[in-house]
Symmetry: C2
DNA sequence: TCAATTAATGCTCAAAAGGAGCATAAATCG
DNA sequence: CGATTTATGCTCCTTTTGAGCATTAATTGA
C-alpha cells in the first residue's frame, strides 16, 4: 500500500458502571472517542492511553484490542482508513461526572433483559424481522428464519446474551437500524456515528463473554464493594438477572474476593459485608476452565 | 499519522493437521507468509484470502484476526509498519504436499506433552529460568518466581496448555530464545524471522483456547473421520493426551458429529465407524457454555 | 415500641457434568 | 489360532449447577 494515503484511527469503547448501569464515553455527535495514532507513540495501546486520558479525564484501567477494520467503504475520499477498535474499562468515578457518559442500553434497548423481555422485541423487532424474512426466496427464507430463531429465540430461556453482534447485524441487514438506511422513523435504539454502534456491539459481546471466565468485572468496581453490588454490576453488563445465592457461592468458591472486615450501614435491610478483589487470583488462577478430558 | 509513510502488512499463521501433527505454512527464511494489504482489496480478510491462496495453493477455510501491532521497534527505517496477524485453518490436503509446511512444535518443543513432559523443560528451561530469576533483586525474584511457577508449574497436572504466549514471553525476557539475543547456542526451539514466533505463540494460544468452546477442529479435518482421528487432531493442537472414552462421550453428547454409515478397514484393530461433522450445530448450538447462575 | 419490610446469609437437595477405569467386541498380525 | 490392537459400551464416584427454603439483622412506618 505504499504511496497511498493511509490514516490510522483508534476507536475506544470506554466503559464504566455507575448507578447500576453500564455507561460509555461518547461525543455529543454520537461518536466513540477516537483519535489518530501519532508517530510519537511507541505502541498502539500507548497511543490509546495517551489521548484517552486527556480526553476522558481519568486513566484507562484494563484495555483490550477488539478488531481492526479497513473496509473500503469506510474510507472518506480516496484515502484509506484503518481503524483499530479497543475496549477499555475504568473504575466508576463519581468525581468525573461529566455529561459525556451515556448508558449503553440506550443504543441497544433490546439487550437489557433485567426487567423481563423488553417489549420492543415483540412490538417492533419481530414484526420487522418477519417482514424482512418473507421478502426473500424460499431458500433465503429458511436461512433467515434460522438466524432469527437463534438471535431472538421464541423460548427466551434460550436467549444468549453474548450474541450482541449477531443480533445487531441481523437488524442491520433487515434495515431496522438507522445507520443502514438513513431513515429515522420507527428505528431501533439510538444510532451512532459511522459504524460505531457496530463497534460497540463487538465490545459488548466481548465483555459479556469475558466476565464469565476472567475476573474483569473488578476493573469496573470500586476498591471495596458488597456482593450485591458486584452482582448488580455483572447483571448490568450481561443484561440478565442472576440467582443471588448461587452467584455468591460462585464468587466465593472461586476465591475471587476477600472480606475487608467492614460492613455497610445506613441502607435499609441487613448490613452487608464489604469485600475486595483478591489480586492474587490474577496469578494463581492460571486455571482457565478446562473442557477437555485430560488423561 | 498523515504524511508519514505507513505500510500495512498482513501476517498469517496458516495451520493444517497432517500426519497427526499441526503444521504451518512457512517461508524458507523462517517467516510467516505475509503480504501487503493492497488498495484493491475490499476488506482486510479479502486481501488475506487473495494472496494466501495464490501463495499456499489452497483456499483458506476458517479465518480469524489475531492482533494488530504497530510497535515502534518493528519499523524498518523511518516508515511505520503496522502488521495485522491472522489465524487461518485449512483442511489437510495430501495433494498440496509442498515442502513449505513445517510442524509447529519445531518452534515450541516445550509445548508438546503428548509423550510426557518434554525433557527440554527440566534440562534447559528450568535451569535457564532459575538463573534469570536469581539475577534480580528480592522483589523481582519473588515476582519472577511466581510467573515461572504458573508458566512451568512443578506439579505438571497444573500445566495449562493455553499459556503458550506467557511462556514464550517469559523465555524471551530470560533471554532463552534466540530472537531475544542473536545468540545461537543452547537456544530453545527453532527461531523465526522478526517477531513471527511471537505471533505463532498467539495463534497457538488462541486455537488451543478456542477448540474448547467452538467446533473449530472440524475445519482441519477431512470430510469424514473416525473419533480417534478427531481425538488425535485435538491432542495434536493441545499438546496433551486425552481420555479416550470420555472424549467420545463429550463429542457425542454435544451432538457434534453423526455417523456416515461407513467404517474403516485395512488398518489393524477393530474397524471404526466414520463420522462427519454436523454442520447444523453451527446454527443450533448458539449455546456458549453459560457460567453465570441465571435466574 | 413493634410489626412489616428489605437485604444478607446459611443450607439442603436433586440433576447434570466430569474423571477414571473395567469389560467386551472385532479386526489384523505372526 | 492366540496375541495384539483399536473400538465401544457401561458403571461409579466426585464436582458443579440449578432452585429454593429458612434464618438473621438492619431500617421504616404505624
Amino acid at each position: 500500500m505504499a504511496g497511498q494515503n493511509i490514516k490510522i484511527e483508534l476507536n475506544a469503547v470506554i466503559v464504566a458502571v455507575t448507578g447500576g448501569e453500564p455507561q460509555l464515553l461518547i461525543d455529543p455527535d454520537m461518536a466513540l472517542p477516537s483519535g489518530p495514532f501519532e508517530t510519537g507513540h511507541r505502541t498502539l495501546e500507548q497511543g490509546l492511553r495517551n489521548w484517552a486520558q486527556s480526553k476522558g479525564g481519568q486513566p484507562l484501567g484494563y484495555v483490550e484490542q477488539l478488531y481492526t477494520f479497513a473496509d473500503k467503504d469506510r474510507a472518506a475520499g480516496h484515502e484509506r482508513l484503518v481503524s483499530i477498535g479497543y475496549l477499555a474499562l475504568v473504575h466508576a468515578n463519581p468525581a468525573a461526572k461529566q455529561n459525556n457518559w451515556s448508558p449503553w442500553y440506550r443504543h441497544f434497548p433490546w439487550e437489557d433483559h433485567r426487567k423481563g423481555v423488553p417489549v420492543i422485541i415483540a412490538k417492533t423487532i419481530m414484526p420487522g424481522l418477519n417482514t424482512w424474512k418473507s421478502s426473500g426466496s424460499d431458500t433465503v427464507k429458511r436461512e433467515r428464519s434460522q438466524r432469527i430463531g437463534i438471535a431472538f429465540p421464541k423460548d427466551m430461556r434460550r436467549w444468549n446474551e453474548e450474541h450482541v453482534l449477531q443480533r445487531y447485524e441481523l437488524l442491520w441487514e433487515a434495515g431496522l437500524v438507522e445507520e443502514a438506511q438513513g431513515k429515522k422513523t420507527n428505528m431501533l435504539g439510538t444510532a451512532m456515528a459511522h459504524d460505531h454502534r457496530r463497534i460497540l456491539a463487538t465490545a459488548m459481546a466481548r465483555l459479556r463473554a469475558k466476565i464469565k471466565y476472567r475476573p474483569v468485572v473488578f476493573e469496573l468496581m470500586p476498591e471495596s464493594f458488597t456482593l450485591l453490588q458486584l452482582q448488580n454490576a455483572v447483571e448490568a453488563l450481561a443484561g440478565l438477572r442472576l440467582h443471588k445465592q448461587n452467584f455468591r457461592r460462585l464468587v466465593e468458591t472461586q476465591g475471587l474476593v476477600e472480606e475487608t472486615g467492614a460492613v455497610t450501614s445506613g441502607a435499609s435491610g441487613r448490613p452487608a459485608k464489604l469485600f475486595a478483589f483478591r489480586r492474587e487470583v490474577l496469578v494463581e488462577r492460571a486455571a482457565t476452565g478446562t473442557k477437555l478430558p485430560r488423561s
